[in-house]
Symmetry: C2
Subunit: 299 residues, 2 copies
């Protein structure tokens, strides 16, 4: 089964207590599509500038990511610069240059329109809705958002939410979006906006998934070194939706296993800068870590 | 099997977003012994002042807690006053009046000295060591500490740690004690100080247990209302050690189940102020919630 993803591709400059990288491959659509590529075919809709190197295109293609929906516009690729402190959960954005991403209008190629699985990464909610207008009744739509849009386009976020089957959102953002400090109440409020399921990403604390009649919680994989948390949430979404697309089932049992595969991909992502760890990753390593999650949580 | 607990009994005055209580029963030994009393016989060593009412003594005795080790000294019982904000994880201590607790010298009654299970609640580490000198080779010694002693008596904390089989400690304190921001590294450092196992209590995020050859992590029970978090850590320890004492086994499988029973008791504790929820609790409710933890985490 194929997954359509619409999101950003960026050059990230990141400093963490473990090092510093400059203009490396990043962006929500990059992390999502590479993580998902271990499970299913991925169709990428995003935009890059004239400065985007062939090397990265080759990387996507090696992983089987379909690039027919990738636009190349005059100008520079989106750039983001950030820094993480000793407390690796605290991120400071140093600069954001949207560049070609500012004028991004997602065009879904004809052959992508029947995609059964859709991931709307954290782009403007109005663009998320435009994407959904261009696809024929997908089996499952998963979406994300971020503080920037909650602050700047709350009505858009809520409208987009109504069109999602599953929302993934991080802990601070769900509190901001719902005005609730208690996560269970916040999650229930999200369900009242439309989605059937909400997954709250809690970084080093794991993930909480809530539906109308089920609640599932999993701790994060305990790592001794978190090199760079950038992209963990999108890698989670890639593993999550990738697993669901491969297995073609969306029942509670499948959703729970998908959350674990999401957590597995996020745990690999943060072991190195950029997509480096996902680049060297094998499927047998993914299966091994899935087994470690079983060991970690069984009683 | 009997459990010996040495710790504090206090009158707590607490304000949370859900209400306010004045001079209610509190203290580490109170929460621990009531939580543990659902599983095993508890022998309490603590101190109260002349103002401690018969009503509370009756409550302990109804729950089968042995009070032969309870000292009553001239003066007032330990008092603590605190406030929790909208973020229920942030606690502000408004006042601490040690009163009779300041001169507390734990005396272990002859008939307690053969106790097989010992819990050293967060009293001064020098007193923890004095307790251990008065008991004959217990099967299992579990201990706690707190920021106050880590700041004021670090060498004492480390010496006391050497004598514990299992340490329970909260997330901020383990970082403070080890100087490590990463929990896995922090936990390993604790093991290097002596204990065979460390359990890190993470409040609304659950608990992480680490031994030399096993790591176990469990999320917290997702509650819609956390009325008052006071005593959650000691209730956790009570459920944890209570289960182990009842089952007389300390293998990895038993430790994992014990962590769940600890989490169950902590989740009930925070549903109301003081020990109110534990007062009305039945064992069938405990079993039911244990089952809910299975549902919550299974995949």
């Amino acid at each position: 089964m194929s997954i359509l993803v619409v999101g950003s591709i960026a050059f990230d400059s990141v400093e963490t207590p473990f090092g510093k990288v400059k203009e490396v491959l990043g962006g929500s659509a990059s992390y999502f599509s590479i993580a998902a590529s271990f499970f299913a075919n991925v169709r990428l809709v995003a935009v890059v500038g004239e400065d985007f190197p062939q090397e990265h295109l080759d990387f996507f293609q090696e992983k089987g990511v379909d690039l027919q929906g990738l636009q190349r516009l005059p100008g520079l690729t989106f750039r983001w610069e950030g820094k993480y402190g000793q407390n690796i959960n605290e991120r400071q954005t140093l600069s954001t240059c949207l560049n070609v991403f500012e004028v991004f209008q997602p065009e879904i190629p004809e052959q992508y329109r029947s995609s059964q699985y859709v991931f709307l990464a954290n782009i403007d909610p109005d663009l998320q809705l435009k994407v959904l207008k261009q696809v024929n009744a997908p089996k499952l739509t998963v979406g994300d958002t971020m503080n920037f849009y909650i602050e700047g386009n709350l009505s858009g976020v809520k409208e987009s939410l109504r069109a999602m089957d599953i929302m993934t959102i991080n802990e601070e953002e769900v509190k901001q979006l719902t005005g609730e400090t208690n996560l269970v109440r916040a999650a229930k409020k999200i369900l009242s906006f439309g989605p059937k399921t909400v997954i709250i990403k809690r970084g080093e604390y794991g993930a909480l998934m809530l539906s109308r009649d089920s609640i599932f919680s999993v701790p994060a994989y305990p790592l001794e070194t978190v090199c760079d948390p950038t992209g963990a949430g999108d890698s989670f979404a890639g593993g999550f939706l990738g697993y669901l697309a491969r297995n073609r089932k969306c029942d509670d049992k499948s959703l729970r296993k998908a959350v674990i595969f999401g957590s597995v991909m996020a745990s690999f992502c943060v072991e190195d800068f950029s997509l480096n760890r996902l680049k060297s990753l094998s499927y047998s390593e993914i299966e091994k870590r899935f087994g470690e999650f079983k060991e970690l949580t069984k009683f």
